[in-house]
Symmetry: C2
Subunit: 467 residues, 2 copies
Amino acid sequence: MALRDLKPVARNAEGAALVAGVLKQRFGERFQTGQAIREQHAHTTTYIPVQAPDGVVFPETAEEVQEVVKLCAQHRVPVIAFGTGTSLEGHVNAPGGGISLDTSRMNRVLAVHAEDLDVVVEPGVTREGLNTHLRDTGLFFPIDPGANASLGGMAATRASGTNAVRYGTMRENVLSLSAVLADGSLISTGKRAKKSSAGYDLTRLIVGSEGTLGIITALTLKLYGIPQAIAGGVCPFPSVDAACQAVIATIQMGIPVARIELVNALQMRALKTYSKLDYPESPCLFLEFHGSDSGVAEQSELFGEIAAEYGGGPFQWTKVAEERARLWKARHDAYWASMTLRPGAKGLSTDVCVPISRLAECIAETEADIAEMSLIAPIVGHVGDGNFHVLVLMDPDSRAEIESTERFVERLNMRAIAMDGTCTGEHGIGQGKMGFIEHELGHGVDVMRAVKAALDPLGILNPGKIF
Amino acid sequence: MALRDLKPVARNAEGAALVAGVLKQRFGERFQTGQAIREQHAHTTTYIPVQAPDGVVFPETAEEVQEVVKLCAQHRVPVIAFGTGTSLEGHVNAPGGGISLDTSRMNRVLAVHAEDLDVVVEPGVTREGLNTHLRDTGLFFPIDPGANASLGGMAATRASGTNAVRYGTMRENVLSLSAVLADGSLISTGKRAKKSSAGYDLTRLIVGSEGTLGIITALTLKLYGIPQAIAGGVCPFPSVDAACQAVIATIQMGIPVARIELVNALQMRALKTYSKLDYPESPCLFLEFHGSDSGVAEQSELFGEIAAEYGGGPFQWTKVAEERARLWKARHDAYWASMTLRPGAKGLSTDVCVPISRLAECIAETEADIAEMSLIAPIVGHVGDGNFHVLVLMDPDSRAEIESTERFVERLNMRAIAMDGTCTGEHGIGQGKMGFIEHELGHGVDVMRAVKAALDPLGILNPGKIF
């Protein structure tokens, strides 16, 4: 699907040249056109071809973002917002050229409101940067997509990650935001109240819009108190199905698990070698519990009992920070561990999300596909949400392997949709998943197009993405 | 302000007569034009004047909703979706006449997915109806705006209530929905996956749009396991400020309180008489904790310690269901209790929401206003979210009282906005709050208008509301 469906966008070379001239004069060293930097600002994280912008600008204020967008609107030149470039579906590619708007210099934490459990940041602040900034407050921002992504990028792609099961996704954790629209005007989508019924939910309209409706210039995010106690551990299961049944029972009992991650047998093999973990090469759940000292102990014991009911265990858990850190480092290193399964390969990471009742079946059919197609493709999943990732290790120079990977991805996505799920739980549509969104949402995509046409009639904001 | 700002909408009497003729023929007894039923389908819950529709239709399927909307679109006649009519800001009024589309016959629970903790319902199912349906499953739907509202109406107004602090609002609890758009087409905004990054968040675009973008025909809602144990109680405080400080500390410590409601001194006086509660006539917090047996005990003890630190207490709590039920019945009867403070008066209920750090100050200034303006106006609040309600008891036949009430409401709303809050936490804009949304969101309201124009170019869906 991915390669076949890259949507062409007409180039406006003359306009781009005019814009580049003005930007050079206006921004000096903060506007770059060298090939290396342009290519770094295109898609670099999978085999989707690099489509570089014509130049990269580094604004420092919302007013500068407005200036750039107005200039580009005037000359009908695309503007592509760029955070850290860790998106996985070609979101930052420039199929019609244009200007990459790099937010990395907009990286100030503008205000921490400890009493209100919120923080106001510029879009270029990264999640690790934010948590470092917060280190003396007793508060933290939980959303963790793995990469040290920018918060603007995370909002734009509706990112989530391992602890979404407890804390939600960017959808739930952006209180409000400011954004520059396609005409260069600046809007604020709300104040700092925890909830509001004042008109359309513009915050959620921009979150997940992948830079196609507006460029985020500030975000108000929810914060959480660092829990008094954290417990975590690993629990092996005889099968993916048994692990999924245990997850369902855990969620149904209302155990407020903070993380519940599935690692399949192949991925465990990679982790054992790479991270020197001493667990069986069978499907495992990695868990974490947040709460009071007695609370996390109670939750851990309860989960251990549930696991045993489904033939899993022993569930070894600990409150010792160093031991937990080692486990979660291993989980976060899953990508690098996987790469050792096929040195020299390129990894294509794809994600789907299904109702949790269909998860075991969906993973089983996917593992069968992997075996039948002779792919090397470990699976990890945020299974509390029914979300899982497959990392296909392939030779990027082999047309045959790309084609079989695409066939596999297509089958996986159509399977998830057929199971009342979605073609992407957290990676977004970008260029890579454009072939699937119509299958999933039908006429709903026309509504998206109508909103896009109303807010960006010239189509200059990140064209060639989503639909 | 409410009276001053009721937006006129041009009537299309000829079109309405044509539509009524066709609907009578098509729907027979399921289309009504009697004055009483028309007036019941207009705004009846405050002093905003009744603006009745030209007729009321009772569709039973999404296809019938499509038929009605297509017919109205053809003749440019307004369609106003109607649930149970418990909204408080004139949402269901028909300032330009037109057809009230009553969803009460679309009241089937279509599917309960216990393993996935979700349920699919038609819009006319009420929240009590849903929970009765679920009674043997061990699951419940928590959102409780007080009235036994329809779930379609609750979604359309982004309702919440006492336990939003723990479970979120309709924003967080609608997984996806189906809606008939202004052209009569039907969309589905998503599948049943817990999370998705597939394009624009159409679910959140429709939730809170007050029937102006589409008419909801089905909803997939999140469910929760009924907690193993529930504890609750009442805690008096020497002042609203002390109570608010205790709330802030409770939230900051991450105690997962399920309900934390402020009742001010005047409201306590009314409750003591009406509900025979034996507490001092001082500001009180009503609390509820959900969890395991030991968990709720731990949370209750912890809260008691926090309350004592701020001069509050004693915190009397219980796990006995009957005693808790009595407390919460009293809290839910606050409206009726208040009415005894001024027999014969009409109550105007208004709500605002501010960052919790500003809550004590906002309530103090509001109480000062009430005293200075000699109003009788008790206050209750979902203070964990910074949200509170003032019920102004006034003589609806007194122009002077209406004017002073409007002045009070205006001052309250502008105060909340100035404190970085919102003019409505959960009631919505409707007709009553149209004067404030521009103050709160500025150019953002133009974006809402652009979306509205794109999706409803003829302006037939609930005209004269929001902006």
